[in-house]
Amino acid sequence: MAQDNDKNVETVDLSDVTVRFAGDSGDGMQLTGSQFSDTTALVGNDLSTLPDYPAEIRAPAGTLYGVSGFQLHFSSSDVFTPGDSPDVLVAMNPAALKINLKDIKPTATIIVNEDAFDAKNLQTAGWESNPLNDDTLAGYKVIRVPITTLTTNTLAETSLSTKEIVRCKNFFALGMMYWLYSRPLEPSMNWIASKFKNKPDIAEANQKVLKAGYYFGDSTEIFTTRYNVKPAKLPKGTYRSISGNEATALGFAAAAQLADLPLFLGSYPITPASDILHFLSSYKNYNVKTLQAEDEIAGISSAIGAAFGGSLAITTTSGPGMALKTEAMGLAVMTELPLVIVNVQRGGPSTGLPTKTEQADLLQSIYGRNGEAPMAVIAASTPSECFTMAIEASRLALKFMTPVILLTDGYIANGAEPWRVPEISELPKIEVKFRTDPEGYQPFSRDENLARPWVKPGTPGMEHRLGGLEKANITGNVSYDPDNHDNMIRIRAQKVKNMENDIPDLEVIGDQEGELLVLGWGGTFGSITEAMDKCKKNGVKVSQAHLRYLNPLPKNTEAVLRKFKNILIPEINMGQLARIIRSEFLIPVIQFNKMRGLPFKSSDIEEKISEILGGGNGK
């Protein structure tokens, strides 16, 4: 694609780059970032992304609170996080510069749309003088590009309105970045063609601007160096780029096929979980039915109805929706029906931070219901692991005939990474047997796992009634008998506990005993792993374990923890796993908690580790 020219451009190989695109929430930064990510994945880099956007859809232009960002970390080796601090910032306006300046590396490159640095925008963003003209940006490599003007010039001959023309400017920035990091244009050219196939003039305009941005890099004297990041050495296979929410949706579609069941999703739209509903609603030819319910309660209630009817039934939500579904979860526990509840956690309490991440619903998930309502809780730790854990949640729910909560979070749900597409033969088998033999049938008889039989309505001779009232064990008749109630509480608890025999042990990465174990769960995996990598490089001895099963905990959890002198638990909450570990095992732990709506910086974890080891290296 690159043209020959006289410009003397040097290409430098880099191993690792973090880029952040930032602009107004209407500037198309999420799109730009995800296009750059997809192309970067296609050329074979490992990567991790962090979309970071406001809850407002189109906040007033130029404001600080309207800034939308998309961070991307790509590398020729393994990537675990979206990067602590960007090497490159693309700032489409003064507000984007102001918001992001504090996060970037002191030596970072800043590419700005200088057209946007007018008096009004500067004032709206609270700059007293133009930072491009004073020493605010001293030390940074600042590249000023009149992106709006160049976009307008490119499209001067078209019939598009000024508004439509200006809206194309993100593709100029994208084209420039493609040139700078030696990425091909074709994937985004194709994407534009397919996205705007019904609006050919818009498609053509965006493609023109994308190319213009690329050629601008090629021809202008502003850029004297371009960079290349070689493909990462990933295990052999077919790869695609995947976000956590899409992986979750795929996992359930896969689980339903593995179990040979129809899939039913009852859900009410909520940020950041709605994408799971969007994806599943497009899988119609995979025997997937989705119901956009009138509210969160109807979302789970309809799923419970579908579970009774013999579907693999799921409901998806985020924190506030979890709160609303609580009573119905108790009903699923009581009726012993298989159901998966997905909570894509976000900042709370109440409406909290809808577009930001947090891990503060763990205790709610395990304990947050009236009565003794034991709930299996598992958590995905990376975007692609959402796939595996969605299958695992389904498998456990179906095998043990009880609801299971799958926790993800806003960070891994929206973040993307390359994913090796598994062979179908690598996926677990899920065996479901509906009982059809009325001979000796009792609705609450139990198998070796204490699961009761699943009988679909429509099966002759097996008419039975379920309900929220306490049932007599075996017969399933309503029972107020004191001993039966005591027994049933214990049975329901034991059934969940029995899952510990069906789940993998907790694995320790690094030495199996020592001074310090960093214990994590859920979306902190990337940050912790990157911190571990750095510690290892610096000769610091520290081990890592990551919990995917929160209730029940893996059987060897206590044994693992007792081998270490110190246990550090970093969590994006006030110490919810820490509380569980203390109360379950009476083992003291060290908490590390930050609730900033963002994933941990690996450097923060690294510093905490040093602090615990008191300057020693853990040996």
């Binding site: 997809d38 994945a41 296609l42 074979g44 994937p187 493909p231 990933l234 295990p235 052999k236 077919t238 790869y239 695609r240 795929l250 896969a254 039913f264 899988y283 119609k284 030819n285 995979y286 025997n287 039915k289 119901l291 319910a293 009138e294 509210d295 309660i297 109807a298 209630s301 309809s302 799923a303 419970i304 109805g305 579908a306 009774f308 009817g309 013999g310 039934a313 119905a328 009903l331 009726t335 090796r420 597409v421 598994p422 179908i424 059809t436 009325p438 679909k456 309505p457 429509g458 099966t459 002759p460 001779g461 008419e463 039975h464 009634r465 379920l466 309900g467 929220g468 009232l469 309503v478």
Partner: protein, 344 residues
């Protein structure tokens, strides 16, 4: 499992629909009549016992599924319509019935009710309206008349009641009817017609709570007063009522008026002829508000019965259409998505 393909079809009886559980409503409760009418009607609706599911919420009425020898689900307060929705959408082959009450369905479950009506989910709902909270021992309900003195409103309630028929019509229900616990034949007819209907069928049943709201519907059920206070809605028939069949309902513009057929000024030809299948729900609305002022009889029967595609069949059709168009999906294609690359 027995092979009964060749077995002659055995006609079920009312008792075949009775479960082995003891019925635990208060003696004298109107619920007994409703249970009896359902059990008597069901042999005639042409659905196999195993294909019927009763779903309920919470309240006296919601114990209903335990007493029916069909599949059943006694759920949580207000959510029966939502659970029935998920069941019917995922299993369009089943005949899904909901038993609910005025508290369960008009108060805590109001949202699910209106959306089930709006979506025209193909389930049948019997709402036992006793205008009181029975199971919690006597608080006023969303259908209690204003000024109702109860345990929670010792000086009289100050809020206005819902008109369930009007609410169902407003939410777009395709079958809306009313019956009474003390009118067994009529109730059986309504149940059978609801069973025939494709789409949501809502039947409000006046049900006497002899413990906490005794006599609430006596005016409409007592032999002495019934005929002057109830008008039976019959499709294509003029609206005549009264002991002597001497009174009728006439529309004066949008306003209903009661006329005397013996006054020499009015004949049967002046009366409103009831149409269940009116394209517009306007006249059904007028009828639903008939008793808002004194002197009007309470309409009982089918207010509205129209056909339009149901949500559950829409979902099923879409699934089948897309599957035919795109072909049955292969998991491996779904997992790969549109853009993949190879690492060797």
């Amino acid at each position: 499992m027995a092979n009964n393909i060749d077995a002659p079809e055995v006609k079920l009886k009312a008792k075949d629909f009775a479960s082995d559980q003891d019925v635990r409503w208060c003696p004298g409760c109107g619920d007994y009549s409703i249970l009896a009418q359902v059990q008597r009607s069901f042999p005639d609706i042409g659905v196999k016992k195993e294909d019927i599911v009763w779903v309920s919420g919470i309240g006296c009425s919601s114990r209903f599924p335990y007493y029916m020898n069909t599949y059943g689900f006694h759920s949580i307060h207000g959510r029966a319509a939502a659970i029935a929705t998920g069941l019917k959408v995922s299993r369009p082959d089943l005949s899904v019935w909901v038993a609910t009450g005025d508290g369960d369905n008009m108060s805590i479950g109001g949202n699910h009710f209106i959306h089930a009506c709006r979506k025209n989910i193909d389930f049948k709902m019997l709402m036992f309206n006793n205008k009181i909270y029975g199971l919690t021992k006597g608080q006023y309900s969303p259908t209690s008349e204003k000024g109702k003195v109860t345990k929670s409103t010792p000086f009289g309630s100050v809020d206005y009641p819902f008109n369930p028929i009007s609410l169902a019509l407003g939410a777009g229900a395709t079958f809306v009817a009313r019956s009474m616990d003390r009118d067994p034949k009529h109730m059986q007819e309504m149940i059978k017609k609801a069973a025939e209907h494709k789409g949501i069928a809502f039947i409000e049943i006046f049900q006497n709570c002899n413990i906490f709201n005794d006599g609430a519907f006596e005016l409409f059920t007592d032999k002495e007063t019934k005929e002057d206070n109830v008008v039976y809605l019959v499709h294509d028939q003029p609206m005549v009522f009264g002991k002597e069949k001497n009174k009728g309902i006439k529309l004066d513009g949008f306003n209903p008026v009661v006329v005397d057929l013996n006054d020499g000024k009015h004949s049967i030809n002046d009366l409103l002829v009831h149409k269940e299948d009116d394209e517009s729900p306007t006249r059904s609305f007028i009828l639903s508000h008939l008793t808002d002022s004194d002197g009007f009889p309470k309409p009982v029967g089918i207010f509205r019965r129209i056909l339009k595609p149901t949500y559950d069949e829409g979902v099923q059709n879409q699934l089948e259409y897309i599957t035919e168009k795109k072909g049955k999906g292969k998991l491996v294609d779904l997992l790969k998505g549109k853009n993949t690359w190879e690492v060797n």
